[in-house]
C-alpha cells in the first residue's frame, strides 16, 4: 500500500478494512465478499446501495463485529472489487445476493441489512426466501407512492424523449468509456456532493477503497457502463404491498434530509406501509446515507433490535 493511502486511512482509525476477503462465483461473474468479526459469530449480511460499494461499511461493519456479529458485505456486480458484467438487472443483483447468502452455509436464518437499493433487495429476499432471512434492516430504502426523488414526469413528451435518448446515447458510447480521472482529493470532493456532512477524512478514506489509482489519476471502480435510467416499466407502488406483507422482524431507519440518491420517504409515508410489528427510526439532521453519516448510532439501533429479534 502506498504512503498516501496509509496516511489517509491512519487519519480515521475507527474505519477498518475487513478481516477477511473471498470471492463467490455467481455464474461466470466473481463477486467480492468481505467480512469483519469471528467466523463463528452470528452472521449478518450487509447490502450496499446502488453505485456504492462494500467499503462504505468500513465503520459500521467493525462496530457490528465488536458487538458479536460476523458482518459480511459484498460488492454487487460491476461495483467495487467485483467483476464487471455485460448485463445488469435488479433481479440478477437479488440472485447474486442469494448466492452470497448461500456461501455462508448457515443452518439458521440470517439477518440482513441493506441501504437504499440494498434495502429493497433485502426486502425482496425476505419475500422469496422467508425461511432463510432472520430479520430485515432497511436503511433509507423504504419506498413511497411518489417514486424516487430523482425522476421525470413521464407524461411530458419532451422530458421522456430526452431521458430515453440520453440512455441510448450513453449505451452507444459506454463500451469505450472510463470514469473521469481525478486526484484523490478531487474524488473526495465529488463524493461530498452526495455526503455533504461527512468529514474530509471519511470522504478521502472512501476514495481509497471505492476508487483505484491509475497512471492518469484516481477513478471510481464502478463500471462506467452503469447509468441511472431509463425509468423503465417498474412502478414504485408495486413494492409497497410486498413490504407490508413481510413476516420477518423488520427494522426501518431513514434519514430526514431528502437527497437526490434516495426515495425521500417521510415518516408519515413510511409508517402505514411497514410490516406488522416493525420498528422504525427517523434520524434527525441525517441524509440518505444513514450508515455512513451516523454509523455509531445505526450500530446501536441495529444491535439493540437484533438482540430482541433473534
Amino acid at each position: 500500500m502506498n504512503n498516501e493511502i496509509e496516511v489517509i486511512r491512519a487519519s480515521l482509525p475507527r474505519a477498518q478494512r475487513p478481516d477477511r476477503t473471498r470471492r463467490v462465483d455467481v455464474g461466470g461473474i466473481e463477486i467480492s465478499v468481505v467480512e469483519w468479526g469471528d467466523e463463528k459469530d452470528q452472521p449478518l449480511l450487509l447490502a450496499h446501495g446502488g453505485f456504492d460499494f462494500a467499503g462504505t461499511f468500513d465503520i459500521l461493519g467493525p462496530l457490528l463485529a465488536t458487538a458479536g456479529f460476523r458482518a459480511v458485505a459484498w460488492d454487487q456486480r460491476g461495483h467495487g472489487d467485483s467483476d464487471l458484467a455485460a448485463l445488469y438487472t435488479w433481479e440478477a443483483d437479488v440472485r447474486d445476493a442469494a448466492l452470497v447468502l448461500a456461501s455462508l452455509d448457515a443452518t439458521d436464518p440470517v439477518p440482513m441489512l441493506g441501504h437504499s437499493k440494498g434495502g429493497g433487495m433485502v426486502d425482496q429476499l425476505a419475500e422469496v426466501l422467508p425461511h432463510r432471512i432472520g430479520a430485515v434492516i432497511n436503511l433509507d430504502g423504504i419506498p413511497n407512492e411518489r417514486g424516487f426523488a430523482q425522476k421525470i414526469d413521464r407524461t411530458d413528451v419532451a422530458a421522456l424523449d430526452t431521458e430515453l435518448a440520453a440512455w441510448l446515447d450513453h449505451r452507444r458510447r459506454a463500451g469505450g468509456t472510463h470514469r473521469r480521472a481525478d486526484t484523490l482529493q478531487g474524488l473526495a470532493e465529488r463524493r461530498r456532493i452526495m455526503n455533504p456532512r461527512l468529514s474530509v477524512e471519511w470522504l478521502q478514506y472512501l476514495v481509497t477503497v471505492g476508487a483505484r489509482k491509475d497512471t492518469d489519476g484516481w477513478r471510481w471502480k464502478i463500471d462506467p457502463t452503469l447509468r441511472f435510467g431509463p425509468s423503465g416499466a417498474w412502478k414504485p407502488h408495486w413494492a409497497i404491498p410486498r413490504l407490508r406483507g413481510l413476516h420477518v422482524p423488520f427494522l426501518g431507519i431513514i434519514g430526514t434530509i431528502e437527497e437526490e440518491m434516495g426515495w425521500g420517504t417521510t415518516p408519515h409515508e413510511a409508517l402505514p406501509i411497514l410490516p406488522e410489528g416493525a420498528e422504525f427510526h427517523a434520524l434527525a439532521n441525517t441524509g440518505h446515507f444513514v450508515h455512513i453519516e451516523r454509523p455509531e448510532d445505526v450500530a446501536e439501533i441495529v444491535v439493540d433490535f437484533l438482540g430482541r429479534a433473534l
Partner: protein
C-alpha cells in the same frame, strides 16, 4: 449472407446482411431464443432496399455473456446500435423482437420509419403485472457454451410489460414521428401491452406484405 460484428457495450453483436441494396434498410428483430433468419423472409421480398437481421445479445452469433441480467431495454440498445451503424431503418419484429422494436421506436421516433409487430416467441413476456418474485436458476454447466443463453430464455419470458409502459412509447411515436400510420400489427397474439398500444391512431392492423409496402413508400 454477409455478417459484421458491432462492438456494443461489452458485447459483439452479429448483424447479418440478408440482401444487399440501396435505400432505407429493413431490420428484422427475431423472437426469444431465435436468431436472425439466414435468408430474406419471403414475406419481405417486396421490400425495395437492403434487408438486415440482428442477433440480440445471448442469441445466434452474438456474445454469450456471463451471469444473465437480460432486460428488453438492453436488447433495445442492441437494436439501437444498428441504427448507429446503418442510419434510419424500418423494423420487422417477431415476438420479443416486436416488443423491443416498440420500445426502440418510442425512444428513437425520428430514426425509425415504421414497425411491424408479428407473432413469435416472447411476445407476452411475464404479463402485464408483476407476479410473486422468484429466484430464477440455471445450472452453471448449461450457461457456458452456446446461444441462446438459458438466462435470456428465463429472464425475458418473465419480465413485466405494463400496458401503460407500452402506451407511453406509442405516445412518443405519435408525438415525435411524422408518420400518421407508424405501427402495423399483424400478430394474432394480443397481449395486454399490445392492446394498449393499439388504442393509438398511429397503430393499425395489417399484413406483413401490406405494411412493408406502406412503410417502403413512406
Amino acid at each position: 449472407m454477409k455478417t459484421t460484428f458491432l462492438d456494443h457495450v461489452r458485447s459483439q453483436l452479429a448483424l447479418h446482411e440478408l440482401r444487399e441494396g440501396s435505400g432505407r434498410p429493413l431490420l428484422v428483430l427475431h423472437g426469444l431464443g431465435e436468431r436472425s433468419p439466414s435468408i430474406v423472409p419471403s414475406v419481405t421480398k417486396s421490400w425495395a432496399g437492403p434487408v438486415f437481421g440482428l442477433d440480440f445479445t445471448g442469441h445466434g452469433d452474438s456474445t454469450l455473456p456471463a451471469g444473465g441480467g437480460y432486460t428488453c431495454e438492453a436488447l433495445m440498445s442492441d437494436a439501437d446500435a444498428v441504427i448507429a451503424e446503418l442510419g434510419p431503418v424500418t423494423l420487422l419484429g417477431y415476438g420479443l423482437g416486436a416488443y423491443v422494436g416498440l420500445l426502440l421506436f418510442g425512444s428513437r421516433p425520428r430514426d425509425i420509419r415504421g414497425l411491424v409487430i408479428a407473432d413469435g416467441p416472447g411476445l407476452d413476456g411475464g404479463g402485464a403485472r408483476p407476479t410473486s418474485p422468484k429466484l430464477l436458476y440455471v445450472p452453471q454447466d448449461e450457461t457456458r457454451h452456446n446461444t441462446p443463453d438459458p438466462w435470456a430464455l428465463l429472464e425475458l419470458a418473465s419480465d413485466t410489460r405494463p400496458p401503460d409502459y407500452a402506451a407511453e412509447h406509442v405516445r412518443q411515436v405519435a408525438a415525435l414521428s411524422d408518420m400518421d400510420k407508424a405501427i402495423a400489427v399483424v400478430s394474432m397474439g394480443r397481449p395486454e401491452w399490445l392492446e394498449a398500444a393499439m388504442e393509438s391512431d398511429v397503430v393499425f392492423e395489417s399484413t406483413i406484405a401490406a405494411a412493408i409496402s406502406v412503410f417502403g413508400a413512406s
